[in-house]
Amino acid sequence: MPHDHHEDDFHHSGMSPSGHPYREDDDRPLTYWQTMEIAMREILIEKGILTPAEIARQIDEMDSRSPANGAAVVARAWVDPDFRHRLLNDASEASREMGFDIGPLRLIALENTADTHNIIVCTLCSCYPRNLLGLPPDWYKSRAYRSRVVREPRKVLAEFGVTLPDSTTIRVHDSTADMRYIVLPRRPDGTESMSETELAALVTRDSMIGVGLPKSPD
């Protein structure tokens, strides 16, 4: 009975008990909302509002964005003080300088220091530096994260395995539709001799959201 939970999953419209979507594969029963997506897409193509090529290109572009893009920007800021200055001054422009398409949104880089740690959230919806990091992880969009990180950031950080000294100031930044944040994490100790490429490999997605720290060398 490989599909003994099939019916049950279908009736829950792809939701897990914790409120996260199950992965929906193409061979699963067609849902109402999938039907709406197909209908909307076909109508928009027939009316000449969109073309199939535009849709395919947009999906490809979004697929090509990943935390590796943000990691490259962070590593550059760690090795190049002038770039770091430009990044903190205008993160959109500095990212474009590296060839990343940031779109019209204003991107702001928040620098973690010895005594200040930054975290990003979107309490209203799910705004995320998607043009640099790709689509957000499910938990970033969850009710739990959005509700709690603004009220008890230290507890949420602990759940991600990060414990900061009480003396560290934690700043939580709430994104808006027109303004997105990215955290510039602190460069780990013991990385003085590492190349920019090696450094980029230490920069995790979570460290750019602020719920994680960069990996330690070796």
């Binding site: 419209s13 792809g14 939701m15 897990s16 409120g19 996260h20 979507p21 199950y22 992965r23 929906e24 594969d25 193409d26 061979d27 699963r28 029963p29 067609l30 849902t31 909302w33 999938q34 039907t35 709406m36 997506e37 197909i38 209908a39 909307m40 897409r41 076909e42 109508i43 928009l44 009316k47 509002i49 969109l50 535009e54 849709i55 947009q58 999906i59 979004m62 697929d63 309490t123 209203l124 919806c125 799910s126 689509l135 992880p137 499910d138 938990w139 969009k141 969850s142 009710r143 739990a144 994260y145 959005r146 509700s147 709690r148 603004v150 009220r151 949420v156 759940e159 539709a177 027109d178």
Partner: protein, 101 residues
């Protein structure tokens, strides 16, 4: 929702399905063409109320919100959408079958 009580943040993630990527693309393209703004999208999502947050997945809320905005802006009518959805349902029982016109 910011500041409200809630349970633990579960480190969950999933790979996006094709239909979810398509909804994302439709949102980006239609808003970049000026049919609606991010605020319009969010207003439609917030109008769905608490229950939608509990019973619908993320991209289910999005497809509903994009559709709501496109109908409001006159890109197509509710009747056109309904007729098309009936045609699509007749094509097959899975997304793969139904999406291949």
């Amino acid at each position: 929702m910011g500041g409200q009580a809630a349970g633990a943040v579960l480190p969950e993630d999933h790979d996006y399905a094709l239909w979810e990527k398509r909804v994302d693309a439709l949102m980006v393209l239609c808003s970049s063409k000026g049919y609606f703004t991010v605020d319009g999208l969010r207003r439609a999502i917030e109008d769905m109320g608490e229950e939608a947050f509990e019973t619908m997945s993320y991209y289910e809320r999005w497809v509903a919100a994009v559709n709501q905005n496109m109908i409001e802006t006159g890109a197509y009518s509710l009747a056109e959408l309904g007729e098309r959805m009936e045609l699509i349902k007749a094509r097959g029982n899975t997304y793969g079958e139904a999406a291949d016109a």
